[in-house]
Subunit: 325 residues, 2 copies
């Protein structure tokens, strides 16, 4: 008998002299499937039927400046501790769909279909797999105007992806990104690109979007919450039905393996990193105290979990996959 | 503007006086989908294409004796700390499929299709959703002979679910459960039922099953590992292809929220709880040291994660869902 030893597990080979029993070759080899399961997951919030939609996950070498206030070496170690491929970052994107019974609302849109990177741009395909028709969407609610959240309102050819939907976005983000004065002050290429991107994506829609303020009900039972810092208008959402509630956090953190574990780390994309840091502590202290179900745009799919305090930071406890809904 | 306060999140209502913007009712309400995503998840181990299959998850009131050596109150608290429904346990079941390119192997089978509890018995449906034909399976490998692992070799009508597959099972479990002497000594109804169940499930197959020993290669690149205690022949598997490897642990723990966090707790189903406890420590100390990818039959779907030491116990870090394979 083979003992359970380090050598056995590492070698992965049968012990010397073991007899291999082989059945007669009764049938042809089964083909490999070569495809992943569709990227959607259903959950209920009271009477509301919600669907987490996988837009994709980008995988790229750790940039020098992904975290502004730690060394690249520290970032490499954090990625490795999170079991990411060596030297790489994995950043997932998870828009949400909420069907209130009377309204079909989408929260953030991904990068849009028809792009050239197959790792992203899959929101519409996964919505379709989930039986949700983009044409049936009544409201598109954007948490903020970064490309991975807003660009998916249009396909690569410029067509509206949700042609029958009202588009709602935070008034404060619109004011910030549409300001020519702010655009002129953009201090690096990333910010210049963001300003240009907002102008391009919303071209022709300037008078068609609806601007919301924090505190407003942006869809039935859905309240916009001030979680600014990441952007000046960055918004989270409390989705409530009956006695149930979830928090769609949007980008209070980027990837939880970095910024939930280390809420004082500053991701390169934060417009006001100090305010974003303060928001993180405030939001997660509350979520932990309330044992709230939190949905994170950049959490691993299906992107639903609980937040617990752990040392100076927090830890994400993914919600168990529920085979029923 | 609404501040992010406990009251705001708890009330979930718009702040007094907020203006709600409502689009014209342009379309009919979208119907609820009413169904969960299919329960399969694909992962690669070297050249092997593997699929985690969701048999289901049972939900039931916490029995008095689920954990033998702690109080029921302590079990209730542990379930609550794991965000299970109040007073309830959630136990998932995840058989695995490994396509080596030359052989299609199934590891454990669930309870079998056609039963009366819709929460379980979904393995074949989810395999089919994954594009895997039960008739194409070459080898069924059982880790041990408990009903949730072995009964799925037959449907409710007694037909073989994998009609073209060789059935391999641990010689030591066969010897234990088929012994009339052991059956006569069964000390409680659970054990009596287990002995009777093995006789029923394998009726007519007594001379058709293949008995394997620890250390043998039960499928190409798959080594049977001695992890006894849960049952006398309880087996885990090292699946290796190229430089990649995963450990299919089977039932080294039942639910990780209880027995990985608390490896000294004794689940009611362990035949030799003291040996099972020793096996748990040995197996997880090694898995943690090696940063091995561990697949647990009773982990939440897709049941794949890393084990880290944490205090006197361990913690499961679920592997991030990979949209590619």
């Amino acid at each position: 008998m083979t003992e359970l030893t380090r050598r056995t597990i590492l070698s992965g080979a049968a012990a010397a002299g073991a007899v291999m029993t082989v059945a007669p070759l009764a049938q042809a080899a089964a083909p490999l499937a070569g495809r992943q399961a569709p990227g959607f997951y259903r959950y209920k919030v009271g009477d509301y039927e919600c669907t987490s939609i996988l837009e994709g996950a980008n995988v790229f070498p750790i940039p020098d400046t992904f975290v502004r206030n730690i060394s690249k070496d520290e970032a490499i170690k954090a990625a490795e501790a999170a079991y990411m491929p060596k030297g790489m970052l994995v950043v997932p994107f998870n828009p949400q769909v909420v069907n209130t019974g009377s309204k079909l609302a989408v929260f953030d849109t991904g990068f849009g279909p028809g792009g050239t990177n197959p790792r992203i741009g899959n929101m519409v395909a996964n919505m379709t797999a989930a039986g949700i028709d983009p044409k049936a969407v009544d409201i598109v609610i954007l948490s903020h105007l970064h490309p991975d959240h807003a660009n998916g309102i249009k396909a690569a050819d410029g067509a509206l992806v949700f042609p029958n939907a009202e588009i709602k976005l935070p008034a404060k983000d619109w004011a910030f990104w549409m300001s020519e004065e702010n655009a002129a002050k953009a201090g690096n290429d990333m910010m210049k690109n963001y300003f240009a991107n907002v102008r391009k994506v919303f071209a022709g829609l300037e008078n068609k979007v609806t601007k919301y303020e924090w505190g407003q009900e942006v869809a039935p039972g859905v309240t916009a919450l001030d979680t600014n810092g990441h952007t000046p208008g960055h918004t989270s959402f409390a989705v409530a039905s009956g006695s149930s509630k979830v928090l769609i956090q949007s980008d209070v953190t980027n990837i939880p393996e970095f910024f939930l574990r280390n809420p004082d780390w500053h991701v390169a994309f934060d417009v006001d990193p100090v305010q974003a840091q303060a928001t993180r502590h405030k939001f997660y202290d509350m979520a932990a105290a309330e044992k709230a179900l939190v949905i994170g745009f950049h959490f691993p799919f299906p992107a639903i979990g609980y937040v617990e305090k752990d040392g100076a930071g927090y830890r994400l406890i993914p919600a168990a996959w529920n085979p029923a809904i």
